[in-house]
């Protein structure tokens, strides 16, 4: 576990130095949210769609963060250093996923705040607990799937376009689950709290499945035959 933490710390040190999240990803995500609101051009419609818009912006932004997370490994063949140090691939997987989780968690906090300020959604009482749980479980799923698919495309040509093509369809269930549960947390009339918690359950199962799949598949994905 110490090795996974070292890998996560290394990724976060790099993020802290480059400020990529702050300088590029956060402005991009906020821009997406503003453009969605402009395109819908209806306050009730924006209010109703707010949860989905937050998670759509998260999905698009996740692609940027994942690409960056694997660019740093391939730029100077640093991934070879990891492999040659005989680090267990599952530890690399969870270390990189943890660093992604921290970055994406910071991003979703910004986006939920933006939804409150820009769209006028309200969260109060027990809905806050649901919202926090949704954010943690959905962000975990995003980080795990992002790490898995980041490794899939890491050594491919045209990986910038391949990553969203491969990962977004897989992330569709997470988008649905996170949006519906967040809708409940935002106090939507169309879904109640009990249903919201049911969707959180689905997000939990989704995270467990991709955590297990990622830790098992990471070795063959990172091992080179050339």
């Amino acid at each position: 576990m110490n090795v996974a933490l070292s890998i996560a710390r290394k990724d976060l040190q790099i993020e802290w130095r480059t400020r990529m999240l702050l300088a590029r990803v956060v402005p991009f995500a906020l821009l997406v949210m503003v453009l969605f609101a402009v395109a819908l051009d209806s306050e009730p419609l924006v209010l109703r769609a707010a949860a989905g818009l937050v998670w759509l912006a998260m999905l698009f932004s996740t692609m940027l963060v994942v690409q960056r997370a694997f660019d740093i490994e391939t730029a100077d063949a640093a991934i070879d250093t990891l492999l040659a140090c005989a680090v267990h691939p599952a530890r690399v997987f969870f270390g990189k996923a943890l660093a992604l989780f921290v970055q994406l968690f910071a991003l979703v906090v910004v986006l939920v705040t933006a939804a409150i300020v820009l769209y006028g959604v309200t969260v109060s009482g027990s809905r806050v607990v649901l919202l926090v749980t949704v954010v943690i479980s959905a962000t975990s799923g995003l980080a795990l799937v992002g790490t898995l698919y980041g490794a899939v495309v890491a050594n491919m040509n045209g990986r910038d376009s391949l990553l969203p093509l491969l990962a977004l369809p897989v992330l569709a269930p997470l988008l649905i689950g996170a949006s519906r549960a967040t809708e409940a947390a935002f106090g939507s009339q169309t879904i109640d709290m009990a249903n919201g918690w049911a969707w959180v359950g689905l997000l939990g199962v989704y995270g467990i499945v991709f955590g297990a799949a990622g830790s098992a598949a990471f070795s063959p994905l990172t091992e080179s035959d050339s």
């Binding site: 070292s6 290394k10 130095r17 100077d76 063949a77 640093a78 040659a84 080179s224």
Partner: protein
């Protein structure tokens, strides 16, 4: 195969994308030996190092490195091996010291190991705290070598380790390699510079993915 043999290759074949990068290599390297691997570009030197590091699979033949049969489990050899490839394997956004510290964390080396490795490679405080992407080619190479030193590997595999180093750093590197072999490590490094081979006890030359010659040096002293 003798127990003091670190590398034993017998008709080793490595095919990369169907092309035989190594086409039947046979040689052995004993524990504590310092061996130069020569050859023109594309003769299989780097592939040979990556094979010994367990990073590419053996297609045919036999290869036992540090007691590990690469045909059975090539990953198991990695804890025993330190590889410095063509590229330095550094994170450009981390400082030189953070890069070395990261490798130390992976292999369980201590902070004092990091300090002594940096000192050994002549990386002063100013360079150590500079982002790797801002360092000169030679300074980056030294940083990668410092990361290798903290690993305390049984077998050192170095791909063009002298490339980008100034004369003083080359001499210092030679001293480090000599010290490593004196303490029992085995060193196999590639070069295509003839003057670098002078002073190395043994030189293996590759041509077309095969061993063209394997001679003990009679010129000069140890590096």
């Amino acid at each position: 195969m003798a127990s003091d043999t670190t590398i034993h290759l017998s008709n080793a074949v490595v095919a990369l994308g169907g092309f035989p990068a190594l086409a039947g290599v046979t040689f052995g390297v004993g524990r504590g030996e310092l061996v130069a691997l020569r050859g023109a570009n594309g003769t299989g030197k780097s592939t040979l190092l990556r094979l010994c590091a367990g990073l590419v699979p053996l297609t045919r033949g036999a290869a036992v490195v540090a007691g590990v049969d690469l045909l059975v489990n090539r990953v198991a050899v990695r804890p025993h091996v330190g590889l410095l490839g063509h590229r330095n394997g550094l994170y450009g956004d981390l400082t030189a010291k953070q890069n070395v510290q990261f490798v130390a964390d992976l292999v369980g080396a201590t902070a004092s190991d990091v300090s002594s490795a940096l000192e050994r490679l002549g990386i002063d405080q100013r360079v150590a705290s500079t982002q790797a992407s801002l360092l000169s080619a030679g300074q980056r190479r030294r940083t990668a070598l410092a990361a290798l030193v903290v690993r305390r590997a049984q077998l050192w595999l170095l791909d063009e380790p002298h490339a980008g180093l100034d004369a003083a750093a080359r001499r210092e590197l030679d001293v480090i390699l000599r010290d490593a072999t004196a303490s029992g490590a085995t060193v196999l490094y590639t070069t295509h510079e003839i003057d670098q081979v002078v002073g190395t006890p043994r030189t293996i030359t590759l041509d077309g993915g095969c061993v063209a010659s394997d001679v003990a040096s009679t010129i000069g002293s140890a590096p």
